[in-house]
């Protein structure tokens, strides 16, 4: 059996954790996707176990590891990654590997939303939601709960609406009270759901998309892209075809895996690493009145890294 050189990419978001293993030609050999459940360390362990099962019949050597997403630093230390990259660059590189002609990436995740503008295969501009999480996946999930439904059913139901209800879209708090009000007035459920999908789109375009020139091809990613109602609402609002890739959720992981290919690995990776016991501990530095919260990462009870200190007084390592 020939040994395949492979690269592992892990994208640890607030809601879900995604990972891929690719070969030298960027083909996805294994991939998986699970909920983070506010425990990134555990999520990554489970995920890597799943990946190991997928490749157990092949002779694969991991030559590079990349991490991205909001827990990229923590997991980067844990996996001894050679690349730790922000999610904007990672998503752009992942998407470009499959859609080299893409000009605009819409991304709506669990907690945040982004827009990435690409010209000639490089990122030229981007925006992220700043002070407000309105119109993200978390908002849709909580509204689904309020309506007593599964958020997964939102898309197909929204498509059946002929007359979407207008829902105030500027702010989640107002959108929510507006939604309750409309429900009590007797609007149909499908109309309200279609209205919600539209409000997500309006909010996105008025917030992160404000002042940005949206040029097709447009690719829509992140958990919310699985909602066909939101996709349709985007197409209506922008007046262009919006592409949702079935592997759209893996783009960040794919991007860092590709990035890790061009950087040599610091030390050998074996799947055994997952047997080690990792934990984190937050301590408050008493060095000055800043009271920095320092995060310590420990492997088998031994401190391997720490961060969060503003100055050297809080340096533990």
């Amino acid at each position: 059996m020939i040994t395949i050189n492979a690269y592992l990419g892990v994208d640890i978001g607030s809601i879900s954790t995604k990972a891929v293993i690719i070969d030298e030609e960027n083909n996805i050999i294994a991939s998986d996707y699970i909920w983070t459940k506010a425990n990134p360390i555990h999520a990554v362990k489970t995920l890597i176990e799943n990946l190991e099962k997928q490749i157990q019949n092949k002779d694969i050597k991991i030559k590079g590891i990349g991490t991205t997403g909001s827990a990229r630093k923590l997991i980067g230390v844990m996996l001894n990654a050679n690349v730790v990259k922000n999610e904007i660059t990672a998503h752009a590189i992942g998407t470009l590997s499959l859609h080299p002609d893409v000009r605009t990436i819409f991304e709506i995740g669990g907690q945040d939303s982004k827009i990435i503008l690409i010209e000639d295969g490089i990122v030229v501009d981007y925006a992220m939601n700043t002070l407000c999480a309105a119109g993200t996946g978390a908002f849709l999930s909580s509204q689904a709960q309020r309506l007593g439904m599964n958020v997964e059913d939102f898309g197909p139901i929204a498509l059946t609406s002929k007359n979407p209800t207008k829902i105030a879209a500027r702010c989640t708090v107002f959108a929510e009270s507006d939604l309750v009000h409309k429900a009590q007035m007797g609007y149909k459920k499908e109309d309200i759901i279609a209205g919600l999908c539209q409000s997500v789109v309006n909010n996105y375009l008025n917030n992160v998309g404000k002042g940005k020139k949206i040029i097709s091809p447009i690719i829509f990613q992140g958990g919310v892209s699985k909602n066909i109602g939101v996709k349709k609402a985007f197409e209506q609002e922008v007046g262009e075809n919006v592409i949702v890739d079935e592997n759209g959720h893996l783009m960040g992981a794919l991007g860092v895996a590709i990035l890790s290919k061009s950087t040599p690995l610091k030390s050998e990776f074996t799947f055994k690493i997952m047997e080690a016991d990792f934990d984190t501990k937050g301590i408050e530095c008493k060095g000055c009145s800043n009271h920095c919260e320092i995060i310590c990462v420990r492997k088998n009870q031994k401190l391997i890294d720490s961060w969060g200190n503003r100055c050297n007084k809080g340096a533990l390592k």
């Binding site: 909001s70 904007i88 990122v123 030229v124 981007y126 700043t130 000055c288 009271h291 503003r310």
Partner: protein
């Protein structure tokens, strides 16, 4: 000789006038006490004593006044309304004196500049000296001394910054009010992050004063905020010599919200606007800055490839 202790809050206008103030009071033989760098305690006290609508920079200032209480004879709180005819400053700077006086039971020494009403800086400093018991002559000499030295220092800093423009690595202009750029809580963490990424930093408060109005007009014809005009002029001056601009604002800043919009529309090189508030987490900030640096690096690589072809 009387030994007067003057407390100077290390916030807001300090970063603009520190040389002038230092040298003036030093020349008069006063002792100067500067509040410490902004820390969490100062910020928290500032929030406690500020109106809800105050911007983060003003909240920090209030914290510094709280810090200086009982540590000096007077705290310096200037009132700046108008520095140039047909221009104004943010109302916070004209309200500062009254705001502090009505919030803290402390001795304030102030000076009042309002050019529109013929109150110049020189007159203001003489009057301030008089309050402290110095003669007109003494104060005037101290002011001339301080002013000329401070101006010389500005020229020196400009020369040094111009040299930095020759550097080969990525250069980013950090644009914004000095009290944002240099504050330990607002600008400092950003500066640190950029330096760790091997970026040469250019600052918008160091700029050429000639042709300022002409330069501002290329971006906006209607801006009448003196400090914002300075930021815009700096951006115009450096635009062609740098790779990108980070526009730093503290939330919620009225003048910035208008002038930033014009800057973002007119500037052709990569630019991001970072708006900081008192929220503690900087995770989003790091992601933004890192991806901005990635963009600049990719652009440069692409441009080099093109020139080689």
């Amino acid at each position: 000789m009387k030994n007067i202790k003057i407390g100077i809050p290390k916030a807001l206008l300090y970063f603009k006038y520190k040389e002038l103030w230092h040298l003036f009071f030093q020349k008069l033989g006063c002792q100067i006490i500067i509040s410490s760098d902004t820390n969490k305690e100062i910020l928290e006290n500032g929030i406690k004593f500020s109106p809800d609508e105050a911007c983060m920079a003003l909240k920090i200032y209030m914290g510094h006044i709280h810090f200086l209480q009982n540590k000096c004879d007077y705290i310096l709180v200037p009132r700046l309304a108008c520095l140039k005819k047909d221009e104004i400053l943010c109302t916070n700077f004209s309200a500062l004196y009254d705001l502090i006086k009505n919030t803290f039971p402390t001795n304030i020494i102030h000076y009042n500049v309002d050019v529109k009403h013929n109150k110049t800086e020189e007159m203001a400093f003489i009057k301030m000296g008089k309050t402290l018991g110095f003669s007109k002559k003494e104060s005037q000499l101290a002011y001339y001394y301080a002013k000329s030295r401070a101006d010389l220092n500005k020229i020196k800093m400009l020369d040094e910054q111009k040299k930095l423009l020759q550097q080969k690595n990525l250069k980013i202009l950090l644009a914004g009010h000095p009290y944002n750029l240099y504050d330990q809580f607002i600008g400092e963490p950003i500066q640190k992050l950029l330096k760790e990424n091997n970026i040469t930093l250019i600052f918008s408060d160091i700029y050429e004063e000639n042709d300022l109005n002409e330069q501002v007009k290329t971006i906006t014809k209607t801006n009448y905020w003196t400090y914002n005009k300075e930021i815009i002029a700096a951006i115009v001056q450096y635009e062609k010599h740098i790779d990108g601009i980070i526009l730093l604002t503290s939330f919620p800043c009225g003048p910035d919200s208008l002038s930033n919009e014009m800057i973002l529309r007119k500037i052709k090189i990569p630019i991001i606007n970072l708006i900081l508030d008192e929220a503690d987490s900087n995770t989003g900030l790091i992601t933004r800055i890192e991806s901005f640096i990635d963009i600049l690096e990719e652009r440069r690589k692409r441009n080099e490839e093109r020139t080689n072809d």
